[in-house]
């Protein structure tokens, strides 16, 4: 059997990215993508677009090498699709980060002119800015380095809806927290400390779950497994819920709401909780459908309750 050689070049720069020798003639594009991921792990198969012509159409995963119009040395051109969905999340998350800071620094035309670029005299306001910014920076970094997306793209309608949601709520919350007439929490430093503890624990928890989920599915594979607790205590929540990442996310926002004692934050938490519960129930249902031996004690999002 004659083996093929496959070289993969970057579609834009024509740079030689990968050279595969001894490729079976009946190998599929999907298999070639998997081989390519081995040398470039950041480009897992779902992100790859391979084509015969740099400006041509993407080859399908099912296409077989020997059926393509190539010689025994096949040249394929690579384009990174992953940027598409990462771009969406980056926009969704960079917005709130930036918008909140506009209010924090009291940029002109938001509050009265005498307040332009002034700073709040309440410690909790500064703390809240740090927490809010930390949350969205964490999300941005996770989008870039942690998450593995199963879909390459997102419909435009969704992008618009999501951005409106994130950016709108961020502006609404930030307006009140950074307002010159802001009223600090009723129970003072005690309330803020407790809230901060809740927030930090939940942020760590949420991150731990994201890492655990990432390790569950190796780069490029499409296998689905039941997530289980690891050595990290934050992942022990898997014993009780299917989607502890959502549980921790709700917890973070509740913490933030208690910290700022701001009704819009509480409303944002409520809306987020509603949406995440819907997602968690869906995920839980698909776990149950797929795995006969799925742990019966687990609830979708709230231990024992929901």
């Amino acid at each position: 059997m004659k083996h093929y050689e496959v070289e993969i070049l970057d579609a834009k720069t024509r740079e030689k990215l990968c050279f595969l020798d001894k490729v079976e003639p009946h190998a599929t594009i999907a298999e070639i993508k998997n081989l390519f991921t081995k040398t470039h792990p950041q480009w897992y198969p779902a992100r790859q677009s391979l084509r015969l012509d740099p400006k041509g159409k993407s080859l399908k995963d099912e296409d077989v090498l020997q059926k393509l119009p190539v010689g025994t040395t096949a040249t394929l051109y690579f384009r990174d699709l992953g940027a598409q969905i990462s771009w969406v999340f980056l926009t969704e998350y960079a917005g709130p980060l930036f918008i909140y800071l506009l209010f924090y620094f009291r940029v002109p035309f938001i509050y009265g002119h005498k307040y332009d670029f002034t700073s709040s005299r309440h410690t909790v306001v500064h703390l809240a800015c740090i927490c809010h910014s930390f949350h969205y920076i964490k999300r941005l970094l996770e989008t870039l380095f942690v998450h593995r997306f199963s879909h390459g793209t997102m419909p435009l309608r969704n992008i618009f809806k999501n951005c409106t949601y994130y950016w709108g709520f961020a502006a609404w919350m930030a307006y009140y927290i950074n307002h010159p007439l802001y009223t600090p929490p009723t129970y003072g430093a005690q309330q803020v400390k407790l809230a901060l503890a809740i927030f930090v624990i939940c942020q760590l928890g949420n991150f731990s779950i994201h890492m655990a989920l990432r390790d569950l599915r190796p780069a490029g594979s499409k296998t689905r497994k039941i997530p289980y607790p690891t050595k990290n205590p934050f992942t022990w929540l898997f014993l009780l819920v299917s989607c502890p990442n959502y549980t921790y996310e709700v917890g973070s926002w509740i913490g933030f709401a208690i910290m700022t004692q701001c009704l819009p934050v509480a409303l944002f938490s409520l809306v987020g909780f509603t949406q995440m519960t819907i997602w968690a129930k869906g995920k839980h249902r698909s776990y149950l459908k797929e795995f006969r031996d799925y742990p019966p004690l687990r609830m979708p999002i709230i231990p024992f309750l929901l």
């Binding site: 009140y176 927290i177 307002h179 007439l181 802001y182 009223t183 009723t186 700022t260 004692q261 701001c262 009704l263 819009p264």
Partner: protein
């Protein structure tokens, strides 16, 4: 717009009862529908609502004949209007439990907008009551037709006249209702501003503020994109449903 939304959403899927509402337009609809117990309940519900709105209609006519003028006619039917319009909240429940195949979201939107107008504007701002008559009349006629339409549909015995009325009178009743609603909200504005009604300002311990005056203005503005959409949807439905029936009649 509460008037428009009510009939539009209802037309699309059958808000008060009767999936036959939209059913007779599309021959491909599967005949599932509510069970016998649910059907009986819905028939009773729709009959009661038809009766309720008839009471309001009769009340209006009698009050006009007695007083000889349009002034304060609202007070003569204030209680049944509040009762029966608020009772329509049940229709959200009907969608939620599935005995009516409408979207919960759409039905909620239409009923809540009606309830909002009745309680949060007309009831809350006594001074807005003068323009109320315009939309009350529009709603009354619309609802009598709509609920009787559902009643007959559920009983599989829909007179063409009712179907025709439902899909034709809206042409006049919608704009009439919308005008009444907008005028009423507009009339309420200065009093809301003056009394600071339902508004909260900073500073306060919830770190929240709400300006009901601005909110009402936003509501009025929202009629601009929403009303034309609903109105033209209804016109489209009319063409579809009334011409379909004409063809059916040819083959009878």
């Amino acid at each position: 717009m509460a008037a428009v939304a009510a009939t539009a959403a209802a037309k699309g899927n059958g808000g008060g009862g009767g999936r036959a509402g939209a059913g007779d337009a599309s021959g491909t609809r599967k005949k599932k529908g509510p069970g016998p117990l649910a059907t009986a309940y819905l028939v009773i519900y729709n009959v009661v609502m038809t009766a309720g709105w008839l009471v309001i209609a009769v009340g209006l006519v009698r009050a006009y004949l007695a007083k000889g003028s349009y002034h304060s006619l609202y007070y003569s039917i204030e209680k049944p209007l509040k009762f029966f319009q608020t009772g329509a909240l049940l229709e959200i429940l009907h969608c939620a439990i599935g005995i009516v195949p409408s979207s919960v979201v759409l039905t909620s939107f239409q009923v809540m907008s009606r309830v909002f107008l009745i309680w949060a504007v007309t009831h809350s701002v006594k001074e807005s009551e003068d323009s109320v008559l315009l939309f009350v009349i529009a709603w009354t006629i619309t609802e009598i037709i709509r609920y009787s339409f559902y009643t007959f549909s559920l009983l599989n015995h829909l007179p063409y006249l009712i179907k025709w009325a439902r899909y034709t009178l809206f042409i006049v009743l919608y704009p009439m209702g919308v005008s009444g609603e907008l005028l009423t909200i507009y009339a309420a504005l200065p009093f809301v501003r003056q009394a600071g009604l339902y508004s909260i300002s900073l500073p306060n311990k919830y770190n929240f503020s709400f300006d009901y005056y601005a909110f009402l203005i936003l509501i009025m503005i929202s009629y601009i994109p929403i009303f034309p959409q609903l109105y033209f949807h209804m016109i489209h439905q009319r063409r579809k449903i009334l011409s379909h029936t004409e063809e059916h009649k040819k083959f009878e």
